[in-house]
């Protein structure tokens, strides 16, 4: 089977790419003057590991039938997806300036028709996991050997349809499905614990029949290991509960619900890029 070689050579390189993606998405949201930086930053290491190490994909052939599929069910975090698709070569770098603009490839929420590499349209929460079930079922019926990766938000698990899919996937014996739950603990209005608590998450998914793993979603080695290990968990579907920090990498955004859905101004953007680069040992000027 043909797959393109992973782009990253090692964990250190993946961490560097994750920092570049964080810079790109902060810039993108700043230019657009709106968007959702918090949940994009919390997911950045997970998305980087998928696109630069784990998934069997070929950016030159976005419609290759045997490609792994990624669905971002928490669609508002699409800047992190777009940044990864740009870095991985699905989209040109000029797209960075066009998020949410008229006629842009980069819509405010994912659009599978407009954007190469986007596998499923999203924007209303609670839908993506079920679509992942359909893709995983299609692989079985068609005899194709791909895996489906679905990222859901933790607040998103307040949607009832998530639990319909959570019940169905183990019963349908979908062993080619990995869910990554971005456990950043904050939803639009406030901390999840202050709105509608969702714990015990691991026990809930386990009782529904899932193989549950729990990791630090910012420790790249753990992230890669867990994603790779999820391939071997048959006959169950797998959920990786990735404990993350909303706004990760930008001090004033971290753990602050305000940055769920607000764009940084010029000064804030400059500070954000400085911090992200400093932590990764990069120069801001080099991340372009």
């Amino acid at each position: 089977m043909h797959t393109s070689p992973p782009v990253a050579a090692d964990i250190r390189e993946l961490e560097t790419i994750a920092a570049q993606i964080r810079c790109d998405l902060v810039r993108m949201i700043h230019i657009a003057r709106m968007g959702h930086p918090g949940g994009s930053l919390s997911a950045a290491d997970l998305v980087t590991a998928l696109y630069f190490q784990v998934m069997r994909i070929d950016p030159a052939r976005p419609d290759w039938p045997e490609r792994d599929r990624f669905i971002l069910s928490k669609g508002h975090a699409c800047p992190v997806w777009y940044a990864a698709l740009i870095r991985r070569g699905y989209l040109g770098r000029e797209c960075l300036d066009t998020l949410r603009c008229l006629d842009s490839l980069l819509q405010g929420h994912p659009d599978m028709v407009k954007t190469p590499g986007v596998e499923m349209t999203a924007g209303s929460l609670g839908h993506g996991l079920s679509a992942g079930l359909g893709m995983a079922l299609a692989a079985r019926v068609r005899g194709l050997n791909y895996r489906v990766w679905v990222m859901i938000g933790d607040g998103e698990t307040q949607e009832g349809s998530i639990w319909e899919a959570a019940m169905a996937a183990p019963n349908l014996r979908l062993d080619n499905l990995t869910v990554i739950l971005d456990r950043n603990r904050i939803q639009n209005d406030d901390l999840i614990d202050n709105i509608m608590p969702i714990e015990p998450l691991a026990a809930k998914w386990k009782s529904f029949g899932w193989h549950v793993m729990e990791i630090d979603g910012h420790e790249m080695a753990q992230v890669v290991d867990a994603l790779e290990a999820s391939r071997e968990a048959e006959p169950q579907p797998v959920i990786i509960i990735a404990n993350t920090v909303k706004g990760k990498g930008v001090s004033f955004m971290e753990d602050n619900p305000f940055w769920h859905g607000n764009a940084p101004d010029a000064d804030q953007t400059a500070q954000a890029l400085q911090e992200i680069c400093a932590a990764a040992g990069l120069e801001v000027a080099d991340v372009d």
Partner: protein
């Protein structure tokens, strides 16, 4: 006496044929396969039949995922549940990306009968018609049901809503019938009134035309089975042919067939008047199908009386 068939039964048999001719066909149900008649497909093609349990939202989204991965899914439930219960999923995951998913809404309309208002879809055409990319098809008899069920997979590439009923209807067409998306069929021309109907009310409209003939009223009958895209030329032709147009549907007069015809007539202009027959912005209730059709003036006699009154005869 002509054969009477429930369109939902014909649909179940046609699904089986669709499955035989195309390995891409998959069928999903939400704990109603005995009623939607997808059980026929289930028995034959178990590996391509997915029972999602009582979870219409999950079923419709799963169908979107199947369609995005090279399958052609038919998803089944009662008309009310497969349209209203999962409208958000249909809108964002099927219509917005223009995915080839066929939603079959069974037991639609008043003739769902004794289960009452909760189960009687009287807004489903309006809901589906408002969505970009969606096609809305309402077959008038068994022959058309079979043709539409197969065409939905073979001749259309995109979302389809197929509205089916449990009221037995006589076959109006024979084996020469050919389905064409967006094209109405005429069951007779008239000079006083044109009855434009869909679903089993086409049969009622045709019988009404005979009753009207006894009163020297010349009535044409149009089967507007493709509500979206609508055959606008047929509406305009009816406006030329007769001074009165009457729409007949087992659905609210708001936003369905009557609404669609009203939009064309208003933009076209001219002297033809419109009367919309259907449910008048109200919910249904428990009763037999025939009692409800009688109550809402959708029997041949009820249609006849409305036409006579509108013409002032």
């Amino acid at each position: 006496m002509r054969t009477r068939r429930e369109t939902r039964h014909v649909y179940g048999e046609a699904l089986l044929r669709a499955g035989e001719s195309n390995p891409q066909i998959a069928v999903l149900d939400a704990d109603l396969y005995k009623s939607t008649r997808s059980d026929l497909f289930r028995e034959r093609f178990g590996e391509r039949f997915i029972d999602m349990g009582i979870s219409e939202m999950d079923m419709v989204s799963t169908a979107a995922g199947l369609a995005a991965s090279g399958m052609i899914p038919y998803a089944n439930s009662f008309a009310m549940f497969i349209t209203a219960h999962c409208y958000d999923q249909i809108r964002i995951q099927i219509c917005y990306p223009n995915l080839h998913v066929i939603l079959a809404g069974s037991s639609a309309g008043l003739t769902q009968g004794p289960d009452g208002a909760s189960h009687q879809a009287l807004e489903d055409i309006a809901l589906m018609r408002a969505l970009p990319n969606m096609r809305v098809l309402v077959p008038a008899d068994g022959v058309e049901t079979e043709a539409m069920t197969l065409a939905a997979a073979q001749e259309i590439d995109g979302p389809v809503y197929l509205r089916l009923g449990r009221y037995p209807v006589p076959d109006l067409f024979d084996s020469s019938y050919r389905f064409a998306l967006g094209r109405a069929s005429w069951l007779g021309q008239g000079s006083d009134v044109t009855l434009i109907a869909c679903g089993h009310t086409v049969s009622a409209a045709r019988d009404a035309a005979e009753l009207l003939a006894n009163r020297d009223i010349s009535a044409g009958v149009v089967n507007m089975s493709s509500i979206k895209p609508l055959d606008e030329d047929a509406v305009r032709a009816a406006m030329q042919a007769t001074p009165l147009i009457v729409t007949v549907e087992e659905h609210s007069i708001l936003g369905g067939l009557g609404g669609a015809v009203a939009e064309v007539m208003a933009e076209t202009g001219g002297n033809a008047r419109l009367l919309r027959l259907g449910t008048r912005d109200r919910f249904g209730e428990s009763a037999t199908a025939d009692e409800l059709l009688e109550k809402h003036g959708l029997t041949p006699r009820g249609i006849t009386d409305s036409v006579v009154q509108a013409l002032g005869r």
